[in-house]
C-alpha cells in the first residue's frame, strides 16, 4: 500500500502552509489598523474625507481580489519608477540580534499589498457597523459630560464598538486565510500553489488537495474556536463586573 504522500511532498505542503499563515497574519494585522482608520475617516465630519473613504470602500469591495492582485503584480510594476522596482527585487536583510528579517520577494510583497487593501475595505465597514451599533445616547451623554470628540471615541464608543464588531471581524480574518489562496495566481508559494505543484509532480491528486483542504479547514476551525472562547470569557468578565 503506497503511503499517503512522499515525505518530500508533505514537506512542500507544510512550507506552503507556513507561507499562508504568515501572509494571512501580516495582511490581517495591517488591514485591522488601516480598516480602523478607514472607519474613522468614513464617519468624520469632514465631507471630503468621508467621500474619499466611501469611494475606497466601493472600489475595493466591488472588484475581484484576483484582478486586484494581477494589477498590483503586473500593472503597478510597470507604473512604478524603475529604481523602486530594482530595490523591491533585490534581497535585503535586517539583522535583529540573532534573527535576520529578510525582505520578501516581489510576488509576496504584491500579494500582501493586494490582500491588505482588499481586506481593509471590509474590516473598515465592520468597524463602522460596530460604531453605529453603539447607541447615539452614549455619544450624547459623553458630550454632555464635556468630553472632546477624541476622548468620546477613545473611552466610550470604541470599546463598545470593538466588542460588537469582534464576531464579524473574526469572520473577516477567516476570509483573509481563504483569500490568501488567490495569491497563487501571481506566484506566491502558499498552500494552494503547493498543492497544485505536488499534484502535477506526483499525480496524487486526491492526497495533494485533500491535505491542503484539511490544513485550511483546521485553520478556520481554530479561528472559530478562538472566537467562541473570547465570547465566553467576555461574558464572564461582564458578569463579574456587574455582580
Amino acid at each position: 500500500m503506497h503511503s499517503w504522500l512522499d515525505p518530500k511532498y508533505l514537506a512542500w505542503l507544510e512550507q506552503g502552509f507556513a507561507v499562508t499563515l504568515m501572509l494571512s497574519a501580516c495582511a490581517a494585522i495591517c488591514a485591522t489598523l488601516l480598516g480602523f482608520a478607514l472607519a474613522v475617516a468614513r464617519t468624520s465630519s469632514n465631507a471630503a474625507l468621508a467621500r474619499v473613504a466611501a469611494s475606497y470602500v466601493f472600489v475595493f469591495r466591488n472588484s475581484p481580489l484576483l484582478v486586484q492582485l494581477l494589477f498590483w503584480y503586473f500593472g503597478a510594476a510597470v507604473l512604478l519608477p524603475s529604481e523602486w522596482m530594482t530595490w523591491l527585487n533585490t534581497p535585503h536583510a535586517a539583522m535583529l540580534g540573532p534573527f535576520a528579517l529578510r525582505w520578501p520577494s516581489f510576488e509576496v510583497f504584491a500579494g500582501w499589498i493586494g490582500l491588505t487593501c482588499y481586506t481593509t475595505a471590509f474590516i473598515g465597514e465592520e468597524f463602522r457597523a460596530g460604531m453605529r451599533g453603539v447607541s447615539a445616547a452614549q455619544e450624547q451623554a459623553a458630550a454632555a459630560l464635556g468630553m472632546s470628540r477624541y476622548a468620546v471615541l477613545r473611552y466610550v464608543i470604541l470599546p463598545q464598538a470593538l466588542r460588537i464588531a469582534t464576531p464579524p471581524l473574526a469572520g473577516q480574518y477567516m476570509n483573509v486565510v481563504k483569500n490568501s489562496s488567490l495569491t497563487m495566481a501571481i506566484g506566491v508559494a502558499e498552500l494552494s500553489y503547493m498543492s497544485r505543484q505536488v499534484d502535477t509532480e506526483s499525480f496524487r491528486t486526491f492526497q495533494a488537495f485533500g491535505t491542503a483542504t484539511v490544513f485550511y479547514v483546521l485553520t478556520i476551525a481554530v479561528i472559530e474556536a478562538a472566537l467562541v472562547v473570547w465570547q465566553r470569557t467576555g461574558v464572564r468578565a461582564l458578569r463579574r463586573v456587574h455582580a
Binding site: 466601493f58 466591488n62 484576483l66 484582478v67 503586473f74 489562496s181 491528486t205 488537495f209 476551525a221
Partner: protein, 231 residues
Amino acid sequence: MNEVDWLASLRYLLLGAFPSGPLGGVALTLALSVASAVLAVIIGLGGGIALAMTRGVAQILLTALVAFFRAIPVLMLIFWTFFLMPILLHVNVPGLATVVCALALIGGAYLSHSVHAGIVSIGDGQWQAAMSLGLTRWQALREVVLPQAVRVMMPSFVNQWVSLIKDTSLAYIVGVPEFTFLANQLNNRLMVYPAQIFLFVGFVYLMLCGALQGLAHVVLSPAMHRRKARL
C-alpha cells in the same frame, strides 16, 4: 509591435470568440453569475429550512456540512470539482458546469446560514401564534415565518450575489474563457499594457457589482418603507 486593434480586442473581451466559438468574456461572466446565483438560492433556501426544521443528528450533520463549505477556499473547491470529481465519479462534466457547481455549493452554504439565522430571528411568538391557529409546523413556516424572514435576509442575499460575480473570476484558473481569463490572454499577447488592461477589468466588475447593488436598493427600499408605514 503591430498596431493594436482596440475595438476588436474590446469585442473579444465582451463576447469571447462567439459566434465562431464558445461564448466568453463578460457575457460568460454574466451567464456564470446568474446560473450560480439561481442554484445557490435554491440550495440556500433548502439548506436553511432544513437547518431550522431538523433536530438531533440530522441537524448536527447539516451544520457540519454547511460549516465545511464555508471554511474551504473557493479556489480549492474549484480544484476539487474540476479535477477530482470527474475522475472519482466517472462522469464527464464540462468545465463550465463544474465551476457553477462549486460556486453554487459555497454560495448555498452561506445562504443556508443566513436563511437559518433569518428564520431564527423571527420571534417565537409568530410560531406559537401560527400554530395556535391550527397550522402545522410546515404551514407556519411557509405562510408566516418564511415571508418575514426573507425580507430580513434580502441584504445578505444581495451581498452573496455580489460575491458570486467576483468569484466567477476564479474560473480563470481552470481555463474557462470568462472575462478575467480573456483579459489575461490579451495581456499575454500585448505584454506592454498590463496596468490599463487590469484597470479596465476592475472597472467593468465595479460597474456590474455596483449595478446589482443599485438595482437591489431600488427594488428593496420601497418595500422596506411600505412595511414601516403599515406598522
